[in-house]
Amino acid sequence: MSTILDCRGLTKRYGNKLALDHIDLSLDRGKIIGLLGPNGSGKTTLIKLLNGLLVPTEGEIFVDGKAPGVETKRIVSYLPERTYLNRWMRVSDLISYFCDFYEDFDRSRAYDMLQKLNINPNDRLSTMSKGTKEKVQLILVMSRRASLYCLDEPIAGVDPAARDYILSTIINNYDENATILISTHLISDVENILDDVIFIQNGHIRMQDSVDNIRMAKGVSVDSLFREVFKC
């Protein structure tokens, strides 16, 4: 199985604070991977580094064998934990925008998801609630046929009913060669869709294993293991 993400000695400092400390990590294609850790553990920093929004202090990061740049941005679909879309735009404008810039964007898939979530394509983002904006962002991100999806807290701001739809959307809308990296605190909600998990703490990888191994070898759910490992 080929590698989609490869980090070698990856380090990121913010001034004196060490966010990631010499991380070595490889992610295989075709898996849904949970990036789990307490607040400030380095999850978002890692995702930003692979999207080229941050520059490493030391070490290297490769997406599909290339350093973050124009080529990797073509194949990575990123959902940040904040609203990053232009407020003045209508949903239909945003779909055109994504269509224009991403060759892998599937317009019909986006409209289909909008309809299922009862979102009017003619609505402006500025008139929407925070939860609806997050749904729109997720629809845009998942309507791409990317090789790597990076979802930073994709279900944190939406209601439980929408969460189920979003998770089923995630499962149903990626092909078998694509990888999904999900960073979240809501482990019990996503546990059933994960193939692998990565536990990260204080900028170090504490554990990387498959969900099946955790359940069989340790006899606990990922949620229980997380609570045990990161007990305050």
Binding site: G15, K48, N51, G52, L53, L54, V55, G69, V70, E71, K73, R74, V76, Y78, P80, R82, T83, Y84, L85, N86, W88, Y97, D100, F101, Y102
Partner: protein, 273 residues
């Protein structure tokens, strides 16, 4: 991709700017209609005090309006650049499959287009307000005088040198000033906190630095140093003055440095919080 970037840049900034510039034209039109009505009714009564005060008030608002529109365009575009590069919107901007060079060029082009539109709108509003059969000869004379003054300042009078002089103004205005603005915004992003304040400080800091360099260049390149500045201006047309050519090269070099500096920050020093 550059074309697409430019299309969305244009869409995102132009609605508000077109409204503001349109308002300037409407204001000029109101002024013209106003004085035409006045002259048709009270042509002989030139001592009408109310009209005098109204005209004065109108002209003051008009002049300040033009200055406000020019300043607003610059500030609005600077804020737009800051937001789309370094605020939450930057998460979208910097994950598009485009290079930092393309991102910068799209911002630069939109800034140039709006700078030119600024001049066109202001000229159009003045034309709406003032141009008629009676004022036309005076306006033409005024432009001739202005051109003469400008070219005399350079110490050169033939057409080729005037073109070179005009070109140097364009380089200073378009390449140096635009580059400076974008570089200051990028430099501001390198501050740990108060990034907007950092951009403002960078902008004025660089201006001061550039003025010092400019002064040094002038003092070295003017024949006889500082003391000859007035002599050259008064001597007029036949005194050769190469200082502005050297200054132009300096502005060009600085503008190129600002562009590559901004590109370096976007590609190697980007740190979105």
């Amino acid at each position: 991709m550059l074309k697409k970037l430019f299309k969305y840049e244009w869409k995102s900034v132009s609605t508000l700017l077109l409204i503001v510039h349109g308002a300037l034209l409407v204001y000029a039109l109101i002024g013209r209609i106003g004085y035409q009505i006045y002259f048709s009714k009270f042509l002989s009564d030139s001592s009408n005090t109310v009209m005098g005060i109204t005209t004065m008030f109108y002209v003051v608002v008009y002049v300040f309006g033009i200055m406000a529109v020019l300043l607003m365009t610059m500030l609005y575009l600077a804020i737009h650049i800051q937001k789309s590069f370094f605020s939450d919107e930057g998460y979208l901007t910097h994950t598009l499959p485009v290079s930092p060079t393309q991102l910068l060029l799209s911002k630069i082009f939109i800034y140039w287009v709006w700078t030119i539109l600024d001049l066109i709108f202001v000229a159009a509003s003045i034309a709406i307000l003032l141009v008629n059969k009676e004022t036309w000869p005076a306006i033409v004379y005024g432009f001739r005088e202005m051109w003469h003054t400008l070219t005399s300042l350079s110490g050169l009078s033939d057409i080729l040198n005037n073109i070179v002089y005009l070109l140097s103004l364009c380089i200073e205005f378009f390449i140096f000033s635009t580059g400076l603005l974008i570089f200051a915004v990028c430099l501001g992003s390198q501050f740990k906190t108060h990034k907007v304040m950092g951009s403002v400080l960078s902008f004025f800091g660089i201006i001061i630095l550039c003025n010092i360099v400019d002064l040094i260049i002038t003092s070295i390149t003017l024949p006889g140093g500082f003391g000859t500045v007035m002599m050259i201006t008064r001597a007029g047309e036949r005194v050769t003055n190469y200082s502005y050519i050297i200054e132009t090269l300096w502005y060009l070099a600085a503008g190129i440095f600002f562009f590559f500096g901004s590109r370096y920050i976007l590609s190697k020093r980007l740190n979105l919080e």
